[in-house]
Amino acid sequence: MSVSAHATESELDALWRARPRSRFVRVSFALFGLLLVGSWFVGDFDFADSFSDTRARNLDRFLDEVRPYPLRAPGPDGTLEPLPWDWGVFGTWAQQRLTDGVSDRDTPGGLESALGTLAISVLAIVLAALASLVFCGFAARTLATPRPFAPHAGPAPWPRRLAWQVVRGATRIVLIVQRSMPEYILAFLLLAMLRTPAWPAVLALAIHNCGILGRLAAETIENADPRPAVALRALGASRTTIALTSIAPAILPRLLTYFFYRWETCVREATVLGILGLASLGWLIDEAQVSGFRYDEMVFFIGLGMVIVLAGDLLSAIARRIVRRAS
């Protein structure tokens, strides 16, 4: 909205000049816009190289090699020429991928890895949820204070106030550090220390999502209707009693919704973590590529990953609907 300047200042101009506005918001948008546009000038994006003939030839070759191996045959000049498409051949090949994994490599089958991916994501999100439930109570401003839900009690003595402030601040810092660390980097670091096939992936996902769920849960507690808790408190209920009997049931539906949303992300991430050598689909995807550039198998396993991600989204949508219906 803008008003053009006039020679004589009218009431409209005066109002426009006096309009409330936030410099912070304007500067933020300007900076953000500058960041988005400027990145294209600062970055080393070599468009000529990205669209060069070499790249085009690479892409061409890649698209040829994505065709399943049994559906190609050596041609006259030594390259593999596509054979006519045959669902039977493709089916046999696909079945081998599901049971044997990457051909000629000692990997688990695709199906086993897909289930492993799901198992990693489920265990990780359950652990994250359990841990976040402990954290969130100490991070919520309404609960982690010396006199929770007692609006008329007056301020507590300062040492207790300070103690709770320290507890709350420390919990919040732990949560924020947890969620700032990318799962992939956490898994990479943990892998060197644990060397068991699945724990690094599970822990990495659990740590990151505990940070996210913990903050969301703390916000939910802070936004919950305080009246039932205040009433309970007036009857002399303890902090723990209030948390378990008044707050927990009130925030449960919301938390379950967040839980399932985060689980959807966990399935995606669990697929990828296998690239580090962990027991998920990512391992097969990586293995297919490094062991002789079997792009056909790589794309097959990426497709399998899509299937379980979509299945996870569907399951999560159903569960969220059940939770919503129940509330």
């Binding site: 909205m1 008003v3 009431e11 409209l12 109002l15 426009w16 006096a18 309009r19 409330p20």
Partner: protein
């Protein structure tokens, strides 16, 4: 934008929402330029009646005419024109809370503009439009709020913004659905007085639903009493009797049990 006032006519109109009959065989004539108050308890069907008149609810039976035209037979664009010619002040404010007041006022004229023109007008409002919006805000008493964020205004002030949006349409009639249900009695009196004064000055038809029988009697020459989807009385306000009042508000146990609303 000045248009001649429109009249309304309802001919045996019934509306059902599922099992609940909101309107049962309503007959009502409102002449152009007339000021009429709809009174009655909540759940009487007043809101539904008003919504039928702007084509927001389709009657299950009967005819609703605006300016002599049957709403059910209008083409899409004619329906848009008919709606644009009627200013509607809603019960809950129905403003966009997180934009400046000016945008809410200017959005009143969307109905008479195409998409491209209205988009340009909303993003870069022409000076003339802002001057007009300011003049209307002056009439409703809050000119200084033109560029404030709408949700920073009090409930009464937001009510005035809603009135200003309706007036900015340049309407031929004003409908108001419980415009004062959420403000205190003194503000309520001001707002009802404002709406009746403006529609008298502009020669607009005014149809307002009200809880408060006293206010209705003070400001409107004609009162229509409704209860349980039916018109109970329709007479000049001097002729309203104690018995009419009881007919509207006395509890009938059978009715209370049948319809909790």
């Amino acid at each position: 934008m000045k248009q001649p006032a429109t009249g309304f006519s309802l001919d045996d109109v019934s509306v059902r929402f599922g099992a609940h009959a909101a309107l049962r065989g309503i007959d009502l004539e409102v002449a152009p330029g007339e000021a009429v108050a709809l009174v009655g308890p909540s759940g009487a069907g007043k809101s539904t009646l008003l919504r039928v008149l702007v084509g927001m609810v389709r009657p299950g039976a009967g005819r609703a005419r605006v300016g002599g035209e049957d709403l059910a037979t209008l083409t899409r664009s004619a329906l848009r024109r008919a709606r644009a010619s009627i200013g509607f002040v809603h019960q809950d404010l129905c403003l966009v809370p997180n934009v400046r007041v000016a945008r809410n006022v200017l959005s009143g004229r969307l109905g008479s503009q195409g998409l491209v023109r209205s988009t340009l007008g909303m993003v870069f409002p022409p000076r003339a439009a802002l001057d007009e919006a300011l003049a209307i805000l002056t009439r409703v008493g809050i000119p200084e709020k033109l560029f404030e964020r709408t949700d920073t205004l009090s409930g009464g002030q937001q009510q005035r913004v809603a009135v200003a949006r309706a007036l900015y349409q340049g309407p031929a009639a004003l409908l108001a659905d419980e415009p004062v249900s959420s403000v205190d009695p003194a503000r309520a009196r001001d707002t009802v007085g404002l709406l009746t004064r403006i529609s008298r000055e502009e020669g607009l038809t005014l149809l307002m639903s009200l809880h408060n029988l006293e206010l209705a009697r003070e400001f409107f020459p004609r009162l229509v009493g409704m209860r349980a989807g039916r018109i109970v009385f329709d007479r000049p306000s001097e002729a309203i009797t104690e018995a009419d009042f009881h007919a509207l508000y006395d509890l009938d146990p059978a009715e209370v049990l049948a319809d909790g609303a």
